[in-house]
Every structure is written in structure tokens, then in C-alpha cells.
């Protein structure tokens, strides 16, 4: 298989991603609906105004971590469904390389995450969110995409380990725990054991990446953030490779 033919395969995988209604509704529409339900009634929230942050801006940033995390892990659910249909066995008797297979799955995850980001930004803009300076939008987006590496890999790993039926509860549970401990819903404060535990999670730094949108410094991570994301990234990618190998008996 040449690089060009791999491109055709990936093109159809991406096409399938955008056509998947279930993933679209749960991974993309759900965070947006949640956003409007929470943010729209609080447009004139005075408490947050004191800090120079409007409620729509605060909740847009809050939901960014949660929404992109769900979107990035959504490939896992589709992998589990494909395995159940026996499709992975069919793929294994083709010249498709594991490299192209992973590339297609990771790109699908990122496509979902990017659409999720764009939808949330558009929703924020519609409720009057403005960031200063304007390049904060891009810095925030860039850092979020980096922070999603472990989640995209984790989604693929779970897709190869779990059955289609257990995928829904597992995804719901894992994203909730990551979001909760990562400070998506309640800020993580102090320096005790609990705070350190939270700061050891990639979701904490995913949430922090969003803080650029709340007027944080240009690098809200520092070396600790980069290191944490790098370690989680390496571990989750290794986990995904192991899960794929265990599932398919391939290297």
C-alpha cells in the first residue's frame, strides 16, 4: 500500500466520521446544548463581571475541556462497534498497515475535536464572547489540541479492549471522572494531596489550556504541564498499541 492509497482510505474514514449521527449528537451537540442552557440565562451575571469575564466566556472555556475530551475519545466507540461487526478481521486480511489504520483513527478523533471546538467558539461568539488579544483564540486552540493526544489514544485503546455494550458506560464514567478531577466543573485550588492528584491528570492541563481564554498568561502550563501531558501521551499511545496488538495479534 502506498502513501497515496492510504490517503484514499483515510478520506473515507473521515467521511464516515462526519456522517455518524450518533457521535454527532452525543459528542458535539450535547455540549452545545449544555452550554446554551447554562450560559444563556446568565449573560448578565455581575459576579463574574467583577473579574472582567462574562458568564458566556467562563462557561465556554469550561465546556471546552469537557466537549473536546468526549469528541477526541469518540473514535473508541466506533472501533468497538466495528470489532463487534467483525470488520477488524476483514481489515486484517487486507494490506492495510497498522500505521495507516491508526493515522485514520487519530485523524477522525481530531476532526471530531476540531468541529467541537469550532461549534463552541461559534456559540460563545453568538453570546457576545470576545477575547483580547484576538490571537488568544489560536493559542488556546493549539494548546487544547496538544492536550488531547492522551485522550485520542485512550479512546482507541478502549475501543480495542471493551465490547460495544460496555463502551457507553465506560466512556461516560471515564470522561466524568477526568472532567471532575481536572477542574472542568469546580476549580482545583491549593497544594494538598488532592490538588496534586488533579494536577497529575491530563484533563487538568486541558482545562488550564482553556484558561488562555480567561486572560491567563501566554503559557498556562509551564514545565509541569508540558511534562504531565507528554508522560500521559506516551503512556496512552503505548496502551493503545498494546490494546491493538492484544486484540488483533498483530505488531
Amino acid at each position: 500500500m502506498t502513501t497515496m492509497t492510504g490517503a484514499a482510505y483515510i478520506k473515507y474514514e473521515l467521511l464516515r466520521t462526519v456522517r455518524n449521527k450518533r457521535a454527532f449528537i452525543f459528542s458535539l451537540i450535547f455540549p452545545i446544548v449544555l452550554y446554551f442552557l447554562i450560559a444563556a440565562p446568565q449573560r448578565g451575571n455581575k459576579f463574574l463581571d467583577k473579574y472582567g469575564i462574562s458568564a458566556p466566556q467562563y462557561f465556554m472555556v469550561g465546556l471546552l475541556g469537557f466537549g473536546t475530551m468526549i469528541a477526541a475519545m469518540s473514535s473508541g466507540a466506533r472501533i468497538a462497534a466495528e470489532r463487534q461487526a467483525g470488520w477488524n478481521r476483514q481489515l486484517r486480511i487486507t494490506p492495510l498497515t497498522p500505521r495507516t489504520y491508526f493515522r485514520a483513527k487519530v485523524l477522525s478523533s481530531y476532526l471530531m475535536a476540531i468541529v467541537s471546538i469550532v461549534l463552541l467558539y461559534a456559540s460563545g461568539l453568538s453570546l457576545g464572547v470576545r477575547l483580547h488579544p484576538v490571537d488568544s483564540w489560536f493559542k488556546m486552540t493549539g494548546l487544547i489540541l496538544v492536550a488531547l493526544v492522551p485522550f485520542a489514544a485512550l479512546g482507541i485503546a478502549l475501543g480495542h479492549l471493551l465490547t460495544n455494550d460496555s463502551m457507553g458506560p465506560a466512556m461516560g464514567g471515564i470522561t466524568s471522572i477526568f472532567a471532575f478531577l481536572g477542574g472542568t466543573w469546580f476549580p482545583v485550588t491549593g497544594g494538598g494531596f488532592y490538588a496534586n492528584l488533579c494536577k497529575g491528570l491530563p484533563s487538568y492541563w486541558l482545562t488550564r489550556a482553556g484558561h488562555i481564554g480567561l486572560g491567563s498568561t501566554s503559557d498556562p502550563w509551564g514545565s509541569r504541564g508540558w511534562l504531565t501531558i507528554a508522560v500521559w501521551g506516551v503512556v496512552c499511545v503505548a496502551f493503545a498499541r498494546w490494546a491493538y496488538k492484544r486484540d488483533t495479534g498483530r505488531v
Partner: protein, 312 residues
């Protein structure tokens, strides 16, 4: 490698030797395949015939590199299965399997074609498999039989030198089956090697040059269809014979076992001619005599001795 080996490797499509596979089960190990040796030439169409649990699917999975053998060697066109698959020389239709959603039939075929170095065109496969009525349909909107036809088209689009079909006609109606086999033969005439698993003697007889008969994880017979048919084409003598002594009937030459249905006796025979010649003088009151070919299942039971299935 000697010159004979080289000459052989160019004409041998599939070479399997000492292939063995067991699975763990709560009841202890299940010996699915117990040491199989096969040599299939390029261009041959071979049926793997056997009842459920004969080891056909396990053998096919190992040939396709989907299951790792406990022991034995497999070569496809002189190469390891993984290498032959990577080169795009193999197309397969597995026993169980669906297709992926969110594409229509044409798109899925195009996607699969993109994985192979030398695929057939989508239009050609659609024509060959006669699925032009399905091309615009979503893959999730197909019936069981239509899905099977699409899966066959996916196997063909590789333009493989070796086509492996594991009980391909399972969900098809009579007309779809007929069409399926017509397409398979059309494809086979292009010099392709075809292996298909089936538990229907008629399919094996009609569409294969050669039948490999498997039972309980072993090859029990291997030869041209006519020869195998004679081998398993055992006959049954049925006659009305009130008050017959079953034990005595079983001792007649050519009779392998005896059953009764009311006043009728049923003699399963390895040689019905001899059995009939012995039956008539010994039991002159026997009437309504019928001689019929036995079903494949009965034939298997005779070949394999007993019906306790050890293999899954």
C-alpha cells in the same frame, strides 16, 4: 532450495503442513485442527467440506493469518500468509461479519479497493457480482443476503490470486446462491486459486474441482469431486419387513447399521449392491424396497466412527 522446489513453488498456491490448533475451554482443550497437510495448486478450485466442528473455519483462519497455529507451516504462493496478504494477493469472505456503516455500497468498495496494489475497478466488481441495484444504497440498509453479496464483492475487489470463502452462501436464497456460484466460477476461470468451505455436498460437488473432506480436525478424504462423492455417497436401503431382527440384519455384508421405523427397516450401507443381494434371499418377505443416496451428515458419521463432537 533445489530446482524442483522452485518449480513447485511456482505452481503451488497453498501449502500447509502439520497444521495443528487447540483451544482452551472449561471442559479442557478442544483439538480443532489435528495435523493437516494440504497442497493446492495455482488455479484449482477446492472445497473444504465437512460438518460443523470439522475444523474448516479454524483452518481458514490460520491460512489467512487470523489465528496463530500451535504447530505447522503455511505458505501462500511460497510466502508467509502475512506477506501474501500485505502484497494484496489474498481476498477473503469470512464466515461471520458485517460491514461498516456511514457509507454507501460504492463508497465502501472504493475504500477497500484503495488498499490494494492491483484492484479490480468498482464498476467491474459491481457488474461481476450483479449488485448494480445496490451501489447507491447505504450499507446499513441491506438485507442479510445483500450484505453477503457486498462482502463477496469486497473479497473480489482485491483482484486476489487466492480467494478464500468461508461458508459464503449462508444467508442467501436459492437464486442468490446460483448467482453467487456463477460469479465465483467466472472469477476462477481467470487462473485464480479458490478455496471455499461448505457443509453442502451438492455445492462442493458442483463447483469444486477437488474436495477436501474434513471431520473432527483431520482430513479424511481428498480428491476429485466424483471420487469423494462415491466415498461419501453412501446409500440407504429402506424396506418393509415386519418383525425383523435388527441384530441379524446388521450382520449382512455391506450393511453398516440398522434402524427401524415401525414396520420399515433402514439399512445404512457402505455397499448397497452387496447388501441387497444378501438381503433378498435371507428375507424373501421384504417388500417396498427403496435404495437412496444417504445424506452427507450420515456419511460423515460413518467416516468418522461416532457422532460425539469433540471439536467446536
Amino acid at each position: 532450495m533445489t530446482s524442483t522446489d522452485i518449480a513447485e513453488s511456482t505452481t503451488t498456491g497453498v501449502h500447509v503442513s502439520g497444521l495443528t490448533k487447540s483451544f482452551k475451554s472449561p471442559q479442557g482443550p478442544v483439538h480443532a485442527v489435528r495435523g493437516i497437510d494440504l497442497r493446492i495448486d495455482v488455479g484449482e478450485t477446492v472445497a473444504l467440506l465437512g460438518p460443523n466442528g470439522a475444523g474448516k473455519s479454524t483452518t481458514i483462519d490460520m491460512v489467512l493469518g487470523l489465528t496463530k497455529p500451535d504447530a505447522g507451516r503455511i505458505e501462500l504462493f511460497g510466502r508467509a500468509p502475512a506477506d501474501a496478504i500485505a502484497a494484496g494477493s489474498v481476498g477473503g469472505m469470512l464466515q461471520v461479519g458485517g460491514v461498516i456503516p456511514d457509507l454507501n455500497v460504492r463508497e465502501l468498495l472504493d475504500m477497500m479497493a484503495s488498499l490494494y496494489p492491483n484492484p479490480l475497478g468498482v464498476t467491474e466488481v459491481v457488474e461481476l457480482c450483479r449488485i448494480d441495484d445496490l451501489v447507491g444504497r447505504k450499507t446499513t440498509k441491506l438485507s442479510g443476503g445483500q450484505t453477503q453479496r457486498l462482502r463477496f464483492a469486497i473479497a473480489l475487489i482485491a483482484n486476489p490470486d487466492l480467494l478464500i470463502l468461508d461458508e459464503p452462501t449462508v444467508a442467501m436464497d436459492v437464486e442468490a446462491r446460483r448467482q453467487f456460484w456463477t460469479t465465483m466460477r467466472q472469477f476462477a476461470t481467470r487462473g485464480k486459486t479458490v478455496i471455499f468451505a461448505t457443509h453442502y455436498l451438492e455445492e462442493a460437488d458442483e463447483y469444486a474441482d477437488r474436495i477436501i473432506l474434513m471431520a473432527r480436525g483431520s482430513v479424511v478424504a481428498d480428491g476429485p469431486a466424483t471420487e469423494i462423492k462415491a466415498h461419501v455417497g453412501l446409500r440407504t436401503i429402506r424396506a418393509t419387513l415386519p418383525g425383523a431382527d435388527v441384530a441379524a440384519l446388521a450382520t449382512l455384508p455391506g450393511v453398516t447399521n440398522v434402524d427401524t421405523r415401525g414396520e420399515a427397516v433402514i439399512l445404512n450401507c457402505s455397499d448397497s449392491d452387496t447388501a441387497l443381494r444378501a438381503l433378498l434371499p435371507a428375507y424373501p418377505t421384504a417388500r417396498d424396497i427403496e435404495v437412496t443416496g444417504a445424506g452427507l451428515e450420515e456419511a460423515f458419521l460413518q467416516l468418522t466412527g461416532d457422532e460425539t463432537e469433540e471439536a467446536a
